[in-house]
Structure formats: C-alpha cells, structure tokens
Amino acid sequence: MKKFINDPADVVTEALAGLAAAHPDLRVDTAEQYVARADAPRPGKVALVSGGGSGHEPLHGGFVGAGMLDAACPGEVFTSPVPDQILAATKAVDGGAGVVHVVKNYTGDVMNFQLAAELAADEGIAVETVLVDDDVAVENSTWTAGRRGTGATLLVEKIAGALAEEGGKLGEVAAIGREVNAASASFAYALTAGTTPAAGRPGFELPDDEIEAGVGIHGEPGRRRERLRPARELVRSALDVILEAQPLDRGERVIVLVNGLGGTPLIELYLIYGEVATVLAERGVEISRRLVGNYVTSLDMAGMSITVTRVTDEMIRLWDAPVRTPGLRWGA
C-alpha cells in the first residue's frame, strides 16, 4: 500500500485536522469527530446534517458551509459514523427549527442515523431523515438492502441546503430533498478498486481488460464483471440502465453529474461528459446544469459514475443559489 499517511489508524483524524487548518469557515470537533459551519447554530434555520464513511471526499465534510450542509459526521474509512457523533453534530447545529439528516441508503448508515435520530428526539430536537438511494445498479427489492446512495447525495445536499438557507421549513426542506432523490438515477463503472488504509490492498483485483459494472463507492465488487469497452459504449450502457429506471420524455430537463471515483483524471471525465451530452441530445433531453469532477469518491478507485436528475424550475433555482463550501462553491 502506498499512501501519504502516517498510521492507518490516524488517517481520519489527521485529515480532519488538515481540513480544520485549511478552512477557517469550518469548525472541526476532533473529539466528537464532526465538521460544522463555524457560524452554527443559526437560530431559526433548519440545519442539514449528513455523514457516512470517510474515503468519499469531498463528500460530506467538503460540502459543509453556507448553502449546503451545517454539519458532517465522517466515520472511519468506509464505515458509517456512530450515533454519538451524529447526535453531537445534530445538537451542535440545531437552531431550533429542526434538523434534516441526509442519509445514504446503506444498512450501517441507516441504523446509526436512526439510533441518533431517536436520541435527538429524546432531547427534543425534531429530526427528519432524507434517505438517498439513487444507484440503479442495485434492484430495489426485498431481496437486497435496496438501492445505494451515491452521486445524488450531492444534489440532495445542494438543493435542500439552498432551501434551508433561504428559510425553508423542516418539512419543506426534507420534502425537496426526497423529491430530488426520487428524480435521480445513477450508475457506476470501476476500472480498479480503491485501497483502504486499514486493509492495505485493493478491495478487488481486476485483470487488465476487465471492469466492474454497477459498483458502489465502498470498494465492493459490482453486479457483474465486463470487458473494457470504449467510453462511448460504456456511457450508452449506463444511460440505458439509468433511463430505464428513470424514463425521461423529450423536452424534459435534467442536471447531470459526471463523477470521478477518485483515481480517474479529469480529461477522461470530460470525455465522458461529451458522450453523455451526445446521447441525451439524441433523446431530446435538455441538460440544464451539469457538474464534472471528483465529488463522491471511493478513495483512489479509478472509475466514474453518471447521475441524471430530472429537475423542476424550483430545483434549478435552488441549484443556482450561492454555495460556499470547500468542495462546491459559486455565487459566494
């Protein structure tokens, strides 16, 4: 394993220390292990708290700031945070208007956030949970833990965060978050697996001409192994799956996220975005906004995911609203 670290056991806390040093706008509680806006709690504002395993940076800590999250709880690498952490963050940012938990649909995340929400309720904090489950590589059936939460998390956090920033009520903020999630579908390919500091070797090994289709962001293998094909074909296959799960009529508008999983260079992501734009243009779908880059990552995994979210005028307005976080910033 080759990484810029000191001790595998200290990676998360040391990276948090670096985040704290780099961003005076953020308050990092290294004891309780959460990242919050320095100006939290903001009285009367609905607060957004998210979290999950570390290794997906900039998600979630990099999305804390004005117009997006009020706090993020990073767990150990690929391990969901513990209820204590989530409760501490929830209490730290609650401004009296309630707190929205944005939770990616993984068994661990769901259970830990649920325990934290129960504890917060015991302390009189109103918590609404928005579950993100956009990854259509997984069938949503009683036979699985359900679709995973991946790229759409960024859209949920941005759009619901903007509504909270402008004074949305708890129910409204949660509702738009759920709408964004329901309007989103994602699919990912991996060329290589990431390596966690603790395990020290890649989550899986792939021959030089094979890829994993339908991977998540935790180094788990995907639904199936395929031959490496030209980007053009991979994009078409991914969009077939996405658009089957989330049919789009001609003239509908979307936000597209072409997301790198950490080890894929930007030049390839832009090439992919070009292919996505071509296919959606053929289908008469209008890309109203887009984002190309490494946002919801899986350590150093070479891979990419495509997220397509059907949007309303209101969602576009909230997407365009100012945001000021380490990982996403415009208008401020």
Partner: protein
C-alpha cells in the same frame, strides 16, 4: 454466569476478533467493503478498556455497557447490530450478580431478537443471524436436555461455526453483500464468522 465469567468471555472475544481481524477483513473485502475486522477490533478494544475501568455488581450491566460501547465505537452495520444484541442480552439477564442457564438462554434469545428487529434479516439472508440462530437453538436444546454451561456453550459454538460456514453457498439479501446479487454466493459471511468467534470465546472460557 457471574461478573467474572462475563468479563472473561468478553475479553476472550476481544482477543479472538483481534487475532482474526485480518480474516474478517478479507472476508468482508470479498463481498463487502473490507472493514469488518477493523470494526470489530476497534469495538472490542474499547469494550476491554471499559471493562478495565469499571466495577460491576450486576452481571447484566457488563453486557449493557459492552453493547453501548460497541454502538458508540464501531459504526457500520455491525456496530448497531452487535451493540443492540449485547444491550438486549444484558437487559434480559436476571438482575443480580449471577445468571443461571435458563436465564442465559432467554437473554441469548433477546439478543437475537434485537438483531432481527433492527436489521430485519431472516435466516438464510447470509448475515450474522445465520450463525446466531443455530447457536441459540443448540444452546436452548442443550439446556433443555440438562447440559451444564460448558457443554451448552460448546454446542452453541459448534452450531455457530457450522452456520457461518453454511453461509458460503447463500446469496446475500441484507447488508452490503446483497449489492452483489448472485456474486455473493461462494464467500463466507464476515458477520456470521465474527458471531462464531464470539460463541467460540464463550466455549473457550467455560471449557473445563
């Protein structure tokens, strides 16, 4: 079971998940995200620290504290599941310094119920339930048959081991491994394996 045996069991379990952390992580890397060994080691190391620093009078409290510690320290799926199991187990034990065999059996049952309630897994879903359920059945049958703790614990450990091994052929329907669909078959479930280690630790510390 008294406070001394309770702490001995948890210490033995801690030793065992620490010794086998690599195995657990490797199993989890194959069908999950490769952190189960690290998670269990971190959690049980914290449990040992708590045990070191606390005087217990009631045997149930040992497990309630251990469970709360696992919930606070592990994260992931296994943290809340094992944490809730130990908490429920401790709470279901009869009050006081010692628990008898039927009390232990009932508490083991309460622990499994907690796992099933929180995680929703059925036997056959390729989870820790597939080791826990047969271990519980074996323990209950041994107790019903008049066996003493060492024998009941040994039977439970054997059944847990068989159950863990039998997860290999299953297709996962809960937890991360379910994302793999049929590709999850052919790999032993990490959580079932750690459940076996915990039952084996009880068998070891009670062995005559």
């Amino acid at each position: 079971m008294d406070v001394a045996l309770a702490t001995a069991w948890l210490r033995a379990a801690a030793g065992s998940v620490t010794a086998e952390a690599d195995l657990l992580t490797r199993l989890d890397a194959a069908i999950g995200d490769g952190d189960h060994g690290v998670n269990m080691r971190r959690g049980f190391t914290a449990v040992v620290t708590v045990l070191d620093g606390t005087e217990f009078t009631a045997v149930g409290d040992v497990f309630v504290r251990a469970g709360a510690t696992l919930i606070s320290k592990v994260g992931g799926a296994s943290g809340p599941l094992y944490g809730s199991a130990f908490r429920a187990f401790g709470k279901a034990l009869p009050p006081g310094a010692r628990a008898d065999l039927p009390g232990l059996a009932g508490a083991l049952h309460a622990g499994l119920e907690a796992v099933r309630k929180l995680g929703g897994a059925q036997p056959g879903d390729k989870t820790m339930v597939d080791a826990y359920q047969p271990a519980l059945t074996a323990f209950e049958e041994a107790v019903a048959g008049g066996a003493a703790l060492p024998e009941a614990a040994a039977g439970a450990a054997r059944a847990a081991g068989d159950g863990a091994r039998a997860t290999t052929s299953l297709t996962a329907r809960k937890g991360r491994a379910s994302y793999l669909g049929e590709r999850s078959a052919g790999h032993q479930d990490p959580g079932a394996t750690s459940t076996w280690l915990i039952f084996q630790a009880l068998a070891d510390v009670t062995a005559p």
